[in-house]
Symmetry: C2
Subunit: 442 residues, 2 copies
């Protein structure tokens, strides 16, 4: 293992000295600390509030300036009891989780016929009213890929499926988890019921449970299911962002904004999603200043309430939308190896971009065309101010194995790959934070 | 994947034709059927009773004779609510399962200081009374190995740890799961409280949760835990064995006994442990008779209640201990590749053994020295009658990833490896069931 790590580090273009340091890095300590001392930190809960206090103390200890907690209110979801059980043709328990903003069942649950749909399209094609009094099941197994692009189309089952089922009369819906593993740990995540649609109970079962349902469906035997999801949507829960700065030599220059999110889903401890991101951006910000204070201020945003509605990013844009920013970057895709970089930069910044591309290429990180998504927590400010954006893209092959599951724990973070992330971010921040010329997205 | 399966089958010495057939085999259908149509089938429960009926029907449909259910009573464990939560220094939920025969907590649980022991030896070395009013935690992470031999020493933490902690005054115990994975699915299994020791609540947490506890313990901060395990030990629950025969041409010759167990732990669906074993021995018994009825009768035993006390094997030996048997074999270690064979055979059977060794060697399965453990369900009869035993040993590297967890589901069974198991068993049964001379263990 040691040898493998060594080879991985060499492949990542890092010096062997990094091997000894990997587990003692600022990044690792943040991921280990948040997962050990806080654990699950669902937006709007006391655990998220503890995480904010923890973050403020940690960022101050690390030498950041202007560390503040900026509170805001958000629409949250408080989990209750999650249970599901096939009652026919074969009684079997199912590993289930409620989706965020699910409707609530009575404490005793609901019971009904379970109607199988292979895809979201098949659900969509069903007649209105066809599901009256029934519970829908949508299959549609997600496949892993390196760029994570499957989350768009597969994730639509979770985001849109429940509202569609509700509109067709269903009293509840179960989906196959939006995930690529084969463990009995279902993947949660937020769903969306438009204002004019009454929320119905909506859950996800693990992939092995979905396989079971699919096998029974293939046999043609009618299925029935009992579903208990007692969690509640709450309209006004307290959340907040944590901000910290490393002031630049020239405070008149617009700042570099780097972000992650502090909240996590409640099933796991949010190691991969997104303590890793906070570790990466924070460690890299510090390293970019090592030896010499940077020209520009680097502002670090540990956003609250990303998982439930990206309220932290919206609150940031509202409060700081009139302050000048130069560029926004976010890390919110785990800690596996960065393999390519995407840019949104004005033509006038072509030389700057070329220098970054060259710096990353020395480490085997390639340039990728296409406009990058800035990240959920900087999307609002980047959109409002037309900021330059650099996206350092991580290998997503394993990401959806543990995403939003109980399995998102510290052991899933590879210290050597985390270190590669910090190193690539440091390369980029050293360049952009010392750029004297204007930096802009368009 | 198709190509990989193809290569795996070629390596296993099977013809390419097996590829098409692999998922339609008798073995596969038994594993798929039991996990889909029955699912969890804890000994002593109505689910195990349904499994017996299912087994009887299936074995009759497959053409077996003398298919009977032989009921017996056993000491069982009925699961209740399983919950655990660190309350200090950091409040965090823990993924926990009760061990079989655990003592019960009140519905509201117990709460106390959690005392860390790195090993069972460390727990053993603690003064009597040192744990008074406290809850013990035993770490001691299991490592995977090919022959599964780690289950002895590591498993001792589960089998003996709770009684030791009770004797030292503990009000409860949590152990690191006896398992080699890193998922949030704790491994259950039976523990043993001697008659003179009052049972205390005893649970296992998943490996990531044990890692968390170990990290906090390393910090030196005192820990407290809340533990709720409301399951109950029941002294007299109904279980039963299912027997079936393929009569030989010479009924006067002692039979070949092949066994598996029908019950499973309740967290998963018992695909690997031990529906696979039932599929393997049953399919192989049928194939050994294909083309020509065998000389000897092959008796198939699908034992009840193996997981809780091996009551099925004991009941079989009691009821059939006066009937002649020639040889006993059992499959109860999943369905990964058979790689070696062990024998307990009299010197007078040396030529027979050599023929079997040669037949297996053609498929790359090697001879291994040492006396084999016959298997939990044939141990009693093999011991009583000094039977010959052949043990076809499977690769155990992955076995303890899912053993006794919710993750023991159909997708964990590799159809190509299952097929290799059936093929090796068929080779052996064809030889022993057609042996006219005496077969004996000593």
């Amino acid at each position: 293992m040691k040898k493998l790590l060594f080879v991985a580090l060499l492949l990542a273009g890092l010096s062997p000295a990094a091997i000894a340091a990997e587990k003692g890095s600022v990044a690792w300590d943040i991921v280990s600390g948040l997962t050990t001392e806080i654990g699950p930190r669902l937006a709007g809960t006391p655990a998220e509030a503890r995480a904010r206090d923890w973050a403020k103390t940690r960022l101050e200890t690390l030498g950041f300036s202007n560390v503040v907690i900026e509170p805001f209110m958000m629409r949250g979801y408080v989990r209750g009891e999650d249970r599901a059980r096939l009652t026919a043709p074969y009684p079997q328990p199912l590993a289930v989780t409620a989706l965020g903003y699910s409707g609530a069942t009575p404490d005793g649950g609901i019971e009904g016929a379970l109607i199988y749909f292979p895809t979201l399209d098949a659900l969509n094609a069903t007649d209105a009213g066809a599901l009256k009094g029934k519970i829908a099941f949508v299959d549609h197994a997600m496949k892993a890929n390196q760029d994570g692009s499957g989350y768009g189309p597969y994730g639509a089952v979770r985001r849109k499926g429940p509202a569609i089922a509700a509109q067709k009369g269903a009293i509840g819906i179960i989906i196959r988890s939006i995930g690529t593993d084969n463990h009995r740990n279902p993947h949660t995540g937020a769903t969306d019921f438009p204002d004019d649609v009454q929320a119905i109970p909506a859950g996800a079962v693990s992939n092995p449970d979905a396989d079971l349902i699919a096998r029974i469906a293939a046999s043609g035997k009618p299925m029935r299911v009992s579903l208990t999801l007692t969690g509640q949507t709450k309209d006004a829960l307290p959340s907040g962002n944590v901000l910290a700065e490393l002031p630049g030599r020239d405070p008149s220059l617009p700042a570099i904004l780097v972000a992650c999110h502090l909240d996590s889903w409640d099933l796991g401890t949010g190691a991969v999603d997104d303590a890793s991101g906070c570790g990466i951006v924070t460690d890299a910000a510090l390293r970019a200043q090592q030896g010499q204070q940077a020209l520009r201020t680097i502002r670090v945003l540990w956003a609250g309430s990303e998982e439930l509605g990206a309220f932290g990013g919206a609150a940031y844009a509202e409060r700081h939308g009139d302050e000048p920013h130069a560029l926004a970057m976010e890390s919110d895709f785990g800690a596996d190896r960065i393999w390519r970089a995407q840019f949104k930069m004005a033509e006038s910044n072509k030389a700057l971009q070329d220098r970054i591309v060259a710096a990353l290429a020395r480490h085997g990180v390639v340039y990728a065309t296409g406009a990058p998504y800035p990240g959920a927590d900087v999307y609002a400010i980047a959109d409002k101010q037309k900021l330059a954006v650099i996206a350092l893209r991580q290998d997503g092959t394993r990401y959806f194995d543990v995403h939003h599951t109980p399995d998102d724990t510290l052991d899933k973070v590879d210290p050597a790959m985390l270190e590669q992330n910090v190193a690539m971010w440091t390369e980029v921040l050293k360049i952009v934070a010392n750029e004297a010329g204007s930096i802009t997205g368009e």
